[in-house]
């Protein structure tokens, strides 16, 4: 009833190629954006700094992984490594370049991660599938090892855990959770928009062609070298920016052991559970993997309080989380984004059955 496209005509090419052709979608996204911007006025510091900031940041990283895995079909396991590159590059830019605005440092750290990504993307020209995943694992281990091995990256800090510098731009220090949230929100929203446009433009079509059948794509004149490395570079750029934000806006420390293989796997799960090859899925998947354990922890400790052994509760939470992942993969292998799509299709007809 409310979600009908009847009566909405597209009369020009510009209208035909806009991101949200439906009026309802445009209204919806406007409301969401407005809410996102105004949220800090109602949310407290806990929600901002412990839930929303890490969620937005990890969504961005999942988006990067999704570009590579979902759109370009290159299975990669090195996303946390590229995040580490971004975090350490950002630290070093701010340390060594006097007065560099934070956003410039973040952009440059994304570029650093992209360059590293291109190097580690080279094997994709020869191998694919699971073999490629194993090859990209090397990046994960190599990067973390290199950051530990060469103390220059850590400015010779003996313990190897560096306190991140404050976020300074235009002479203002973005110190409060609210200000940090806005910085993250602006960067993530801008990059998500960019990703959406890339995905539905010629760039994304190139990726999808390579994903679906690379021989056919090559026969149609696509350069495999260019397309694959482009996907690796852009994906790593997103991961690098995400890593810098993760370290500076969330953890406020920079250390290699925050970017372990475990984080890479979690990002992989975010993409799979959220939905491969969808922008929205990255956000939904990040929310599920990041927030569900916290939700379980809060609710179980809230419900059972101190009456049941906390060790048992903690173990049960993990079991439930695992079962939920399995259930999701069985009932909806296409991910949370697919659920949203199905809901939209039902909404089109609602409240009628046909």
């Amino acid at each position: 009833m409310f979600y009908r496209e009847a009566g909405q005509f597209r009369t020009s090419y510009a209208q035909d190629s806009q991101i949200f052709p439906l009026r309802q979608d445009r209204i919806g996204i406007a409301i969401i954006l407005m809410a996102a911007v105004l949220l800090p006025f109602v949310a407290n510091a806990y929600w901002l700094s412990a839930i929303l900031i890490p969620w937005l940041v990890l969504s961005l990283v999942a988006l990067g992984q999704n570009i590579l895995m979902g759109y370009a079909g290159q299975l990669s396991l090195g996303s946390a490594g590229f995040m580490a590159v971004g975090a350490f590059a950002c630290y070093n830019f701010i340390l060594r370049v006097e007065g560099i605005p934070f956003v410039v440092a973040v952009a440059l750290s994304g570029v650093c991660a992209a360059l590293v990504g291109i190097v580690f993307g080279l094997p994709s020209l020869r191998i694919r599938g699971l073999y490629l995943a194993v090859a990209t694992l090397a990046s994960q281990f190599f990067i973390v090892w290199a950051l530990d091995k060469f103390p220059w990256f850590k400015n010779y800090d003996p313990a190897g855990v560096i306190t991140a510098q404050p976020i300074v731009m235009f002479g203002h220090n973005f110190a409060s959770p609210r200000e940090k949230y806005w910085v993250v929100l602006v960067i993530v929203a801008a990059l998500a928009l960019l990703a959406k446009n890339m995905a539905r433009g010629s760039v994304g079509r190139g990726w999808m062609a390579v994903r679906d059948m690379d021989v056919a794509a090559e026969a149609m004149g696509l350069s495999l070298l260019r397309t694959k490395l482009q996907a690796f570079a852009i994906s790593s750029f997103y991961c690098g920016v995400g890593g810098a934000l993760f370290a500076f806006a969330y953890l406020q420390t920079v250390e290699p052991s925050a970017f372990t293989i475990e984080l890479s796997f979690r990002i992989l799960f975010m993409v799979i559970i959220g939905g491969l090859g969808t922008i929205m899925g990255s956000f939904l998947g990040a929310a599920f993997i990041l927030l569900m354990p916290i939700f379980l922890n809060v609710s179980f400790h809230g419900v059972f309080g101190q009456s049941v052994d906390a060790s048992v509760i903690s173990a049960v939470e993990q079991v439930i989380f695992g079962v939920m992942i399995i259930a999701f993969l069985i009932y909806e292998p296409l991910g949370l984004a697919r659920l949203w799509q199905l809901t939209k299709e039902r909404l089109r007809l609602w409240p009628f059955s046909h």
Partner: protein, 455 residues
């Protein structure tokens, strides 16, 4: 079709859970008859470090409950706590820190995550939030300088003192510092901030004494150490200072050492990964391994014996330990001592700020923590912890305190104490200078003005 059902059911369940949660939170208001003081428990009950997490936080919770039951709280103020699972993951612990920061109209007084990476993750936040970071024997070492880190306390030791104590023990065994020249000591450590933490002090002592220091890292979680132990044998190591965490890693170290034939009585474990659970994981081969203790284990201390009686005897069932036999183990006793520090600091704060019988704030608690003083034997006896910890006091400048340990040796079923008395560095002044130099360097880099400290 299936997915529709799942969606509908899933949403329904989430609604139910949410409603249940709302109901529970709404039905437990605090009738403000008795003053309450709230503590945070950032526990680690799952994952590779669960033995440590359940023991330490079990001891901590038990002592808070014990004080409530036995003494009716701290001068009438009831102690409450809220728990959050960190999984020994720095990112999760930051979420826990923010979650537990406020409860009702109270802020948490102290944060004790029991993990060096976790302590590092919040060390920049505690001053602004008025929270004491109580990193008992772990965390950032140079935070022992109270002029630079007013909110961080390492009572009653840190990793630099500990490595210096281990080397002091080794030189005694070898027959003097002059005998150390040319010896090879391997620092076998987990490759995290925690494993690397003692290195600056160790390198300095190696230079001074002229022994050969070999650093061998192990990637976490450290369940594969074959190549590292072969390397140790090739290096013809005289001693190994083992800096690991988790029973899995500790057990692997012992079995790997046995496989290459490295004598266990030349391995010294760190306080953190040196508990009964770690030795049992190594089986019969653990016999003769040395372990450093910061707080002594055992039930012979009156406090632990009384806690067991009050909380566990008969069908009391008030204890937090799933396995009551673990009362009096290394981790349990260490948790109890951490909570004793909380309670003593709270008493000090009430006295200092004329708030006896009332709840206190973070700033007042900080003053009380800084005034911790266990130097008198009578005081330790009164608390029932005589012999469990060394006598020490904190001051404005010194946030470490004792810097002393005991050396224990595993006899196959329990620890035997082999050091004559509490033992520290061979040259404690040198360690203190290292700490203050490092803290001053940090202060200068970060434009922190040193707090003016009389002592």
């Amino acid at each position: 079709m299936l997915s529709k059902v799942v969606l509908r059911r899933g949403l329904g369940r989430m609604g139910v859970a949410g409603a249940l949660l709302a109901l529970v939170t709404a039905s437990t208001p605090a009738p403000a008859q008795q003053a309450e003081q709230y503590f945070s428990i950032p526990s680690t009950r799952v994952g590779p470090y669960n033995a440590q997490g359940t023991g330490i936080y079990g001891g901590m919770i038990d002592y808070l409950n014990y004080v409530n039951i036995k003494h009716g709280g701290v001068n009438g103020v009831k102690l409450t706590y809220e728990e959050c699972e960190t999984e020994y993951n720095a990112a999760r612990s930051v979420e826990c820190y923010q979650r537990l920061l406020n409860k009702g109209d109270q802020k948490m007084l102290a944060w004790d995550p029991y993990g060096t990476p976790l302590a590092y993750a919040v060390i920049g936040r505690v001053a602004a939030d008025n929270v004491v970071l109580a990193q008992a024997g772990y965390g950032r070492t140079d935070a022992a300088d109270g002029r630079v880190w007013p909110w961080v306390f390492g009572a009653h030791s840190n990793y630099w003192s500990q490595i210096a104590m281990k080397l002091n023990f080794i030189q005694e065994k070898e027959g003097g510092i002059d005998k150390m020249k040319g010896k090879t000591i391997v620092h076998l450590h987990i490759d995290t901030a925690y494993g690397r933490e003692p290195l600056p002090a160790m390198r300095q002592i190696a230079k001074d004494w002229g022994f050969n220091l070999v650093e061998i890292p192990i990637a976490p979680p450290g369940l594969e150490q074959q190549s590292q132990w072969l390397q140790i044998r090739q290096a013809k190591a005289d001693w190994v200072t083992f800096w690991g965490a988790g029973a899995g890693m500790s057990g692997t170290a012992i079995t790997s050492a046995a496989r290459v034939g490295f004598p266990r009585n030349k391995i010294i474990f760190v306080t953190f990964g040196g508990a009964e659970e770690d030795m049992i994981a190594g089986g019969a081969q653990s016999k003769d391994t040395y372990v450093v203790a910061m707080v002594l284990p055992g039930k012979q201390f009156p406090l632990i014996a009384d806690m067991e009686k009050v909380l566990y005897s008969g069908s009391a069932g008030k204890g937090n330990m799933q396995n009551p036999n673990r009362v009096g183990t290394i981790y349990y006793n260490r948790g109890v001592i951490a909570a004793v520090n909380f309670v003593e600091a709270m008493k000090n704060a009430q006295k200092l700020h004329n708030k006896v019988g009332q709840a206190i704030t973070g700033a007042e608690f900080r003053d009380g923590y800084e005034a911790l003083d266990y130097t008198s034997d009578a005081k330790r006896k009164e608390l029932g912890i005589e012999g469990m910890i060394p006598g020490y006091k904190l001051s404005c400048r010194d946030h470490e305190g004792a810097g002393k340990f005991q050396m224990m040796q595993w006899d196959g079923s329990k620890f035997q104490i082999v050091s004559k008395d509490w033992m520290g560095a061979n040259d404690p002044k040198m360690i203190r200078t290292l700490i203050e130099d490092s803290a001053e360097k940090y202060a200068k880099e970060n434009n922190i003005t040193l707090r003016d400290c009389p002592n």
